[in-house]
Structure formats: structure tokens, C-alpha cells
Amino acid sequence: MEIAVISGKGGTGKSSISAAFATLQERVVLADCDVDAANLYLIFDPVNDNEQVYIAGQKASIDYNLCTNCALCIDYCSFDAIHLKATGPTSALKRVTIDEISCDGCKLCTRVCPANAIIMTDNDKSRMYSGTFRKGYMVYGRLAPGEENSGKLVNIVRDRAKKIADEYKIDITIIDGPPGIGCSVISSITGTDIIVVVTEPTISGLHDLRRTIELTCGFNSTTWVLINKFDLNREISDRIEEYCSQNKILFAGKLSFDARVVEAMVNCKSVIEYAPDSAISKEISQIWEKITHYK
């Protein structure tokens, strides 16, 4: 069974809840799919036995020994990444220049260049890691800054997690997803059994929840809403519950604000490990029972 924990809005406590769910298990596969800002390894300090280079597309650059400055590539670039730029602050000479940030790596410029002066280089700084931690196996991706295709890296992390789950016959895989509703979120929830959307009682939380639900509606996974820190604004928390019941969205429960969640993180533990007998730990395990035993 694959359970994805996501949140439209960032900072709602998604990773802390994923960590808590993971530590409720005897053995688990934990896939940190927030490849932009993977954080769970900070809590679980996994021993990695596998590292893979992930090629996140390519970037174009110009070999000025060959370039004739014909500027044909500028006309073809759909990403506004090629311009005629002065070679120095005081120079009057302008040459064809590719802006690395805007380049999307489509290679069209290399095809149109009559002088074969454009070189493509792999973006090879992103990594996928997998290994073991105190509750089983952990897989995570780290996307190098500025690189895209994070959805693809998420797929690689999830494939690896699946292989591990099959090989070691582990029933539960927990996916900690990224914030937002874009490509990497879509990759994180596709084909999962359960989606838990973690939200918070703020008007932005509610607004983002609506957009997230609009997205998850298109998937067959059983989707649950969980309100974290609900007591920071009970009125909006009630509005979220109402929104769920009106739209027939399954409501997993609500958790109160508890400083021990942050203290646990500072101590490299989940709240389940840090304060097993606390009310919040009990509530989290009740929510877990509820969402995994729903028929």
C-alpha cells in the first residue's frame, strides 16, 4: 500500500506527519519525494547504500571558435534564452550569448546552427539516494538548484521504493510529497492507494486546499484531508471541515498545535518517538488507523 502525504500550501507540517506515520510502523519504505527540499533524512539519518546520478536534461552553450555570429539560433529559440550581448561592460562588440537560466535544453539551436557551434552539456548534479534507517528503508532525491524535471526524479525515487518494497516484502510505503500542485506533486500521487492532504486553518491554507482537491479529484486514490494546528484558528478549521463535508471529501481528523512536534525535529526524532505517550502521538496513530482501515 502506498500512502502519499501532500499539502498544497507549504509548511503545514507534512514532513513531520510523514515522519510520525513512518515511525508507527514495524517496517516501512519511506520515499521523500520533496526533491526540491528533501528533509526527512535529517530526522532519520539513513545509511545510504546506493547513489544514482540523475540527468535533469541538458543546457546549451556556444563554442566561440566555431560560432559565426549569424544569430539564426536566436530566431528559433522558444525560451527567449539567446540574445546578442556585448562581450564586456565597455565593449561595442556584440555576440550571440545563451542565458543558462532560461535555456530549457530543447536542442533546437544545435539543429539549426549551420556552423555546429552549439554544445549540449548534461545537468548531472542531481542525485537519488537509497539506504536503510531505523524503521526500514529510505529513498530520497535531491534536485540540484535550478534544475527542472523534478517530476521525473520523483518517478525514479518511487520506482526504487517500489523495488525495495517488493524485494523485502514490506507492505507500507509512505511518500512525503512536495508542496504545490505542479509536476512533482502529480508524479508523487499518481497510482497511490491513499492521499493525505495536510492543511492548516488559515485562509491561504483553505484556498490552497481547494486547488489541491481539484487536482486529486482526477486520481483514483482515496483522498483524506487532515487539519494540522487546527486550534490556531478554530473558525477557519470549522470552515475546512464544512468544506470537506459539503464536497464529500473524507476527513481524517485534526491535530492541535504542539511545540513537541518541533522539539522532536530538533532532536532528530518524530513526535511518535519523542513523546510516545503524548496526546498528539495518540491522535496521529488514531488517524493512521482510520485512513488505513477505511473500506
Binding site: T12, D36, D104, R111, P179, E200, L232, N233
Partner: protein, 310 residues
């Protein structure tokens, strides 16, 4: 900084980790700067989850200039390829040219499809096709909208369509529509990947908002490393100060990164934010604090700051 001098600066408000308070900072800084009487634009670049307007409920919709259609809403479109199978000879050249695996072809049974969600609209397939079998159609990726909040101030919101993979073209359009003059605040998307880079690339100064927790620190380090490679001026705001631990402070000292502002963890601030209320309206003492921070940022931008130059 005397307000008589016309100020020109683009400030990006960013964070690696989501939910650290980017929107809190952007919306309150924007309101504080009304008093400068400069042309002022807040661009909500978090196209996946735009929230800034929730704090400006009385903002009224206003028209863009002609370049962006002259209306209140501008549809951001891209041209996706359409294959005319009556001309297609199933040669596979377009598939070979496509760097995104967006063309699905089974030569054996003469079937060809464009997978629109994978297409980046680069035009390579049209260039590749020698049989005149590829035309294009327009697809909407989202919209940008413009709102006026005061005599000189406006908000431009980038709102990506749900289910569209990349928000980048919508963000680019919003940033472009904000123009180049006056003070521009860019509320950036979280993370350090493409959408973040697109937003901070044009900024003169980047405010990194973080919180004093291990997650916050780890994401801050990643953002800082990225900004170093981009040669940007930047500083840090610690939000929810008082919770977590103090490792972040030693990191800032060690890296000589200016600490612009600390906002304590406070239930009242959290509660105001949760209701969509501005801190600077309800607790006016914050107005002076935000103004002082802006002055620091503006002077780093104009005159440099030796501690922040690499």
C-alpha cells in the same frame, strides 16, 4: 533614504522550504511601502498556490497595458503541435528531435500522438517535419491578473491552471507585465528549482525567509548556495523565532549573511495571518520595522555591503 529620489529596485521574497512566511513578508512589506509614494507592484509568482490577494480583499481589478491585451486578465498560452495525419509519413523524425519524449509513435500501425503534458512547446518537431504535417494550436497554461490597491500600487497575480505541469511561462508573463520601474516585490514560489530561479534571476535583492528549525536551516543552506552562484545580494528573515534551536544564527554569523529581521513565534501574529489580516495594519509598530528593513535593503542594493560581497 530620502523619498524624493525615485527608487528603482526589484526585491524577491523567497524560501527553500514552503510555509516559512514568504506571503506574510511580501504582503506586509508591500503595504508598508505605500508611504514612499513610489510606483509599487507586488507580483505573486507562486503560480501553483497564489495567496497574496487574500490579504487585499478590497483590491479592484484593473486593465493591463496593450502588450498584455489591455484587459484585466491575460491568458498565458503556448503553441502545442498538432499532427495532420493525412500528411504524416510516420518517419519518426519529429520524435527524434523531441527532447521531452512528447511524441508517441508506433510506426507499425501508423499511430502518432502528441503528449501535450510533456510538450515544452520548443518547436523542434515542426522544424524536424519535412512533410508539412505539423501545425500548432494554442493551449492555456494559466492567467495573470492585475489589481489596483492604492494610487500608485498594484498587484499582479500569476495563477497556473490546475493540472498544468510547469508554472514557469505564467510566472515569466507576470514578471514581464510588472515592467521595470519603481519598486517591485516578487513573492517567489518555494524551492530552488526552475520556478524559483526564474523569479530571483531578475531580482536586485533576495530576502530569504526561514525558520529556526533543522528543516529550515537545511533548506536555507541550499538557497544560499544557489544565490551565491547567481551573484545576488541577499539577506535572511527568521520567522517564528524562539521555537526550534539556534544553529541558524551561528550559520548566518559564520557566512556573514545579514539578518534583516526576526519575527517571533506569536499566536497573535499567526492568528492575524490565518484570517488574511495584515500585521502592519493591526500592529502599527511593525510598519516602522518593515520600513527600516526596506531602507537597509535599498542601501545594500545602491551602495553595496562589504559583508555581503563575495
Amino acid at each position: 533614504m530620502p523619498a524624493t529620489i525615485s527608487q528603482k529596485i526589484k526585491i524577491a521574497v523567497a524560501s527553500g522550504k514552503g510555509g516559512t512566511g514568504k506571503t506574510l513578508i511580501s504582503t506586509n512589506l508591500f503595504h508598508t511601502l505605500y508611504q514612499l509614494d513610489e510606483a509599487l507592484v507586488l507580483v505573486d509568482c507562486d503560480a501553483e498556490e497564489p495567496d497574496d490577494l487574500l490579504f487585499y480583499k478590497d483590491a479592484s481589478a484593473a486593465n493591463f497595458n496593450e502588450q498584455f491585451g489591455g484587459k484585466e486578465i491575460y491568458d498565458v498560452k503556448q503553441s502545442v503541435p498538432v499532427i495532420d495525419e493525412s500528411n504524416c509519413i510516420y518517419c519518426g523524425r519529429c520524435r527524434e528531435y523531441c527532447s521531452y519524449n512528447a511524441i508517441f509513435l508506433l510506426e507499425g500501425i501508423k499511430t502518432i500522438r502528441v503528449i501535450e503534458d510533456l510538450c515544452h512547446c520548443c518547436g523542434a518537431c515542426s522544424y524536424a517535419c519535412q512533410s508539412d504535417a505539423i501545425t500548432t494550436k494554442e493551449r492555456s497554461l494559466g492567467v495573470i491578473s492585475r489589481f489596483v490597491t492604492g494610487t500608485n500600487s498594484s498587484i499582479i497575480e500569476a495563477r497556473g491552471k490546475v493540472g498544468v505541469y510547469s508554472p514557469v511561462p505564467v510566472i515569466k508573463a507576470a514578471v514581464k507585465a510588472a515592467g521595470d520601474d519603481g519598486i517591485i516585490i516578487l513573492d517567489s514560489p518555494p524551492g530552488t528549482s526552475c520556478p524559483f530561479i526564474q523569479t530571483v534571476a531578475i531580482a536586485d535583492f533576495v530576502i530569504l525567509v526561514t525558520e529556526p528549525t533543522p528543516f529550515g536551516l537545511s533548506d536555507l543552506i541550499q538557497s544560499v548556495e544557489t544565490l551565491k552562484t547567481m551573484n545576488k545580494n541577499y539577506g535572511v528573515i527568521i520567522n517564528r523565532a524562539g521555537m526550534g534551536d539556534d544553529k541558524i544564527y551561528s550559520y548566518l554569523t559564520q557566512q556573514k549573511i545579514p539578518l534583516l529581521l526576526e519575527i517571533p513565534f506569536d499566536r497573535e501574529i499567526a492568528s492575524l495571518y490565518s484570517k488574511g489580516e495584515l500585521l502592519v495594519k493591526h500592529k502599527p509598530e511593525w510598519r516602522a520595522i518593515f520600513m527600516e528593513m526596506y531602507n537597509t535593503i535599498y542601501s545594500i542594493h545602491r551602495y553595496g555591503n562589504s559583508s555581503n560581497q563575495r
